[in-house]
């Protein structure tokens, strides 16, 4: 078991790299599948010293739900921001800073949350606090900053907590 763990330090990354290679080749064949697998085994093996405490996924199936929710929100975000840009006068907008206190402690999970906030409606992650306990979020048009904070915690952080920790 230990040898298997040594050889495949990161099985999810192996699958992911193989998939990315197949997409890069853009034509499925046994050749490219084998080469992709080879890369998928080699790259995590060589780079494993750089991530000693790797992330554990507690609930990988939740990722599908999370991705679907985020994709839908990105489409909504585009329409919302486009409407604000085209039809709202600048002086009517209320740009605002919001502090989002974090329950997540895992650095990868915080990175995913920060990226998600940037891609979704009217919000943008600007910074993290010096010890990593809260995120600084900029809102394009938020009359009520507390509502924005609660929605981020409800919609994204709750799901990420289930996936990662």
């Amino acid at each position: 078991m230990k040898v298997v763990h040594r050889l495949f330090p990161h099985p999810v990354l192996t699958v992911f790299l193989t998939l990315v290679w197949l997409l890069l080749v853009n034509r499925f064949s046994l050749n490219s599948l084998l080469f992709g697998l080879m890369l998928g085994v080699l790259i995590p093996f060589v780079t494993s010293p750089y991530w000693p405490n790797r992330t554990r996924l507690r609930n990988p199936l939740m990722i599908v739900e999370y991705v679907l929710v985020v994709l839908w929100d990105i489409i909504v975000a585009n329409v919302v921001v486009a409407r604000l840009v085209l039809f709202r006068r600048n002086q009517d907008m209320q740009p605002n800073w919001v502090t989002v206190p974090l329950e997540l402690r895992n650095p990868s999970a915080i990175t995913v949350l920060a990226g998600t906030i940037t891609m979704t409606p009217g919000t943008l992650t600007a910074d993290v606090s010096s010890k990593g306990h809260s995120l600084l979020v900029h809102c394009l048009d938020a009359a009520d900053p507390d509502a924005v904070r609660d929605e981020i915690k409800q919609r994204y952080e709750r799901r990420l907590l289930e996936i990662f920790e």
Partner: protein, 130 residues
């Protein structure tokens, strides 16, 4: 059949054009630097997304080949857009904002960009000796 597909492809192209334009327009129109960041990170995502969907559909129908390259472009875009926005926001805070203008950082003493710890100061080990 082909007509329907062409209409769908045209629809995606028009959508992507509209959103791409809005993103660029927002960059000029919005008032302050932080608000300007919102337009390109979002509106452009759907702009490029629509273009890629149109490309996939047309390759599948007219060249009879399933092309999934485009998904990879989307993936790289989703990785690159937040990181770029984060960089620009950080340099903006560093140069133009004070700790008093930003909200309270919760449990921690300050925000990472404005963090200043005298013990963290890097001293060059190979400095010129005088």
């Amino acid at each position: 059949m082909e007509l329907i597909v062409e209409i769908v492809i045209a629809f995606f192209l028009v959508v992507s054009g509209i959103f791409g334009f809005t993103g660029s327009y927002g960059l000029i129109k919005l008032g302050d630097p932080m608000s300007r960041l919102h337009a390109p990170t979002k509106a452009t995502t759907l702009g490029v997304g629509g273009l890629l969907l149109a490309a996939m559909a047309s390759i599948y129908v007219f060249y009879e080949h399933v092309s999934l390259h485009e998904l990879l472009i989307t993936l790289f875009l989703f990785l690159a857009a937040p990181v770029t926005a984060h960089f620009i926001a950080k340099s903006h805070i560093h140069r133009h904002e004070n700790a008093e203008d930003l909200p309270d950082p919760g449990d921690d003493p300050d925000w990472a960009v404005l963090h200043h710890d005298p013990e963290d100061v890097h001293r060059p080990s190979h400095g010129p000796e005088d």
